[in-house]
Symmetry: C2
Subunit: 266 residues, 2 copies
Amino acid sequence: MSENVVVLLLLMQISNNYCARNELNIFLFSGHYEFVDLTHSFDNETIYWPNSLNFVFVKKIEELGADGSWYAANDFTAGEHGGTHLDAPYHFYRGGLHAGELPLEKLIVPLVIVDMSAKVNDDPNFVLYKEHLDYILNDNNGKPCIIIFKFGWSKYFNDRKKYLGLAENSNELNFPGLSEEVAKWITSSYKNVVGLGVDVASVDPGSSKQFPVHKITSRHGLYNIENVNLNRDIPEYGCTALVLPMKIKLGTGAPLRLVAICPKEQ
Amino acid sequence: MSENVVVLLLLMQISNNYCARNELNIFLFSGHYEFVDLTHSFDNETIYWPNSLNFVFVKKIEELGADGSWYAANDFTAGEHGGTHLDAPYHFYRGGLHAGELPLEKLIVPLVIVDMSAKVNDDPNFVLYKEHLDYILNDNNGKPCIIIFKFGWSKYFNDRKKYLGLAENSNELNFPGLSEEVAKWITSSYKNVVGLGVDVASVDPGSSKQFPVHKITSRHGLYNIENVNLNRDIPEYGCTALVLPMKIKLGTGAPLRLVAICPKEQ
């Protein structure tokens, strides 16, 4: 760390160009951090919940002018809750905030990754209980943060049937998720956690009918992030999350651009 | 600055909670920075270009269960180019990147605000020429950055007719913008500038028919940001821009969440 501080001080001294002159910009663009996109792209293949309105991309204009000029523009339709997206507390709690009302102080926060993928071991019936977490969540004095649980499911995102665990001839789903116990435990014991994320289609397991995790987190003012793209490994601690949803004023949720700023491995 | 560094070092030493333990998180959440939303909300009133598909918000379900549980979800349709949004280089240049292809290194960058609002003085015919800028753009050694030009137009965003300068009984528009001269000058002399922004509906003036600024910036790989919400003043130098569009893979543009991280005034 002391080496970084020396580098920082040197950079502060030698830099005098207007594009980067202030401490945060010097720090952020020092070469010690990288930006990692945790977002799946939106196109006509993006995974949505069964019976939800999918993202549909309509090519409107692509025009090559006589003078060689080019103009292209498109329209799209979408449900709020598909692809990499945010669930606002209002989604499952009438008194909760809408997507466009969440304060930035809850959206730009330290990021904790809890990697359960080895324990899940591709089992769609895996449910995360408190016993799985005893080794990590032993600190309740922190500043606001979000926790993203990695089940190892992002690798299936291009195979809708496998990703959702769709049964033949029905809309029954089967993929890993959090237990009611874990949601209660986090919201009661870890007041600094402002949001939860998962690399599956729902914070509740695919087989859930009552969605207790959604109900508990929403009632406590936490947002949920679903379909996080964790195809790339990032450090479990030390990254900063940029959780920036489309600002749909009264949205129950919204398409999300999720980015992690992480220290580069030395 | 030396005082900030002392504070930083102290914070590094006393902090040992997992939510914030790494240098960037300590720096960012030290209390010396604030997050400023430069985004207009999306709802059925959000301003789109004439003849564009507006943002239309469809309330799908709002359901209070017999057990007191709540569930709400919506759909929406939109053109890519309305409200606070990003124009990808592909919008006006066939060889340019799409919205979902822009690298994060061009989207998280130092932010320069050029405040022309006093010079514009509410005149919708104002066009920005190089002579207006001689006092600022005298440095070409910087790291990547974006420049957002403030014409003082955000205050009209709730009045579509005034904001767009719509003529009676026609789709003729009239609002301030950049000259072709300025676009050529920036793209030829300031290679570190990766994007331009404005607090009006287009980087070209409302009366433009040929859109030279769009064509020049697109061809040089710059993105444009339109309808920036500058109702709140932020420092002209020293902020960091988070330019995070909805990740529409082949979008010519996309709804944008635009946030500035700024040093708090002492």
